[in-house]
Amino acid sequence: MSYFPRDRAWHPPALTPSYKTSVLRAPQQALLSMPTTASEETGPVFGHDLLGPDDNDLIRNFRRAGGEAIGQRIVVYGRVLDETGRPVPGTLLEFWQANAGGRYRHKNEGYRAALDPNFGGCGRTITDERGAYHFRTVKPGAYPWPNGVNDWRPAHIHFSVFGHAFAQRLVTQMYFEGDPMIWQCPIVRTIPDRSAVEQLVAALDRQATIPMDSLAYKFDIVLRGRRSTMFENRMEGN
């Protein structure tokens, strides 16, 4: 029951020179391929006892000045599935983002946009039995970065997903429907296929919007699938 190999023509390649940092951080040798073993088909599990009540509420989980985070209030929700369409329940999702002005709360960050005293920028949750998750936050702002002389990242939220196996471990970014910056971004454009990029663009969902409170964006995440257990006992593997 090994995992499907990754389609590395769908993922971004390692070397993408218009994203300059990749030039010195991309391996030059071919990857060594190997069918998955128990070392890759297992992975850590995190229990709900890990979570505090505000872990998935970025508007409130860093309330220092007593208020709430400033910005466009949104709910982000979706499901985690595998490539066969099965839900991935009980998996830890971590997310992080800049504030509404595009400023990250990180010591290495020097952008002049102000920090929000009530916004930390980190959250986490665990998918339910349907593979569903949700969290509340403010929509992050675009921000400039030292790549080209005038490069700006589109509004985005970073995601880290564990899945059920270390082979499924994934870090990616969610973008927002209709943002014209998506198609200009050298990091987005590391992904060769436009339809693959579209898979990272969350749709505005007016049905899930909370009236007079928050807009909603739907973002489903797909992790690697795996073969069924047909002819499992064949010595050459399965």
């Binding site: 010591k107 980190c122 992790l223 690697r224």
Partner: protein, 208 residues
């Protein structure tokens, strides 16, 4: 026309970026009070079974400069070769050993360090033994898709010689990039696993 296979496509990866620690190690970047402790910093406790070891290393880019903003995770079997995972089919792993660790590399010199236990052997699906190893996964700014590699132990020479993955690497020099040399400090075995992303002595990375 034929029926659709109906498979979904995996969500494409994107770089973790320079501020990955906000989401994974918020306390380390002074975002305190959101959660008590960063995950994955401690692997072993007094109840954990097995031989204590230290795994240390540094991460270098294609110019030999330290990579100072990466995140390193490890995943491994317990001392008996069992994983603490519901997907483990061969038995129940040591409950006092999660088998998973994570930490940011040092912002000064790109170093990382895990105190863990020596893993037992894990079989291939067809039953052949694999040499003891630790899975290592690296994400960082400039890395578009997380890099998988494996640490093997220099003092397991006999097992390494028949390991199915190591045997797939034709060049003995490249094989050496996965085999961590052993030293000792304060009575503990120390295995040094330097990771070179690119160029001379480039680490073997895996497509698994």
């Amino acid at each position: 026309m034929v029926q659709s296979l109906d498979y979904l496509k995996e969500s494409p990866s994107q770089t973790a970026g320079p501020y990955v620690h906000i989401g994974t190690n918020p306390n380390w970047v002074e975002i305190t009070g959101v959660w008590k402790a960063d995950l994955g910093l401690v692997l072993v406790g007094p109840q954990t079974r097995g031989e204590r070891i230290l795994v240390e290393g540094r991460l270098f880019d294609g110019l030999g400069e330290p990579v100072r903003d990466a995140l390193v995770e490890i995943w491994q079997a317990d001392a008996a070769g069992l994983h603490n995972s519901p997907a483990e089919t061969r038995g129940k792993a040591d409950p006092a050993f999660a088998g998973w660790g994570r930490q940011p590399v040092s912002g000064v010199d790109g170093s990382f360090r895990f105190e863990t236990v020596r893993p037992g052997s894990v079989p291939m699906p067809d039953g052949r033994p694999q040499a003891p190893h630790i899975t290592v996964w690296i994400v960082a700014r400039g890395i578009n898709l997380g890099l998988h590699t494996r640490l093997y132990f220099a003092d397991e020479a006999a097992a390494n010689a028949t390991d199915p993955l190591l045997q797939r690497i034709p060049s003995p020099e490249r094989r050496q990039t996965l085999i961590a040399p052993r030293t000792e400090r304060d009575g503990l075995p120390v295995f040094t696993f330097d990771i070179r992303l690119q160029g001379e002595r480039e680490t073997v990375f895996l497509d698994i």
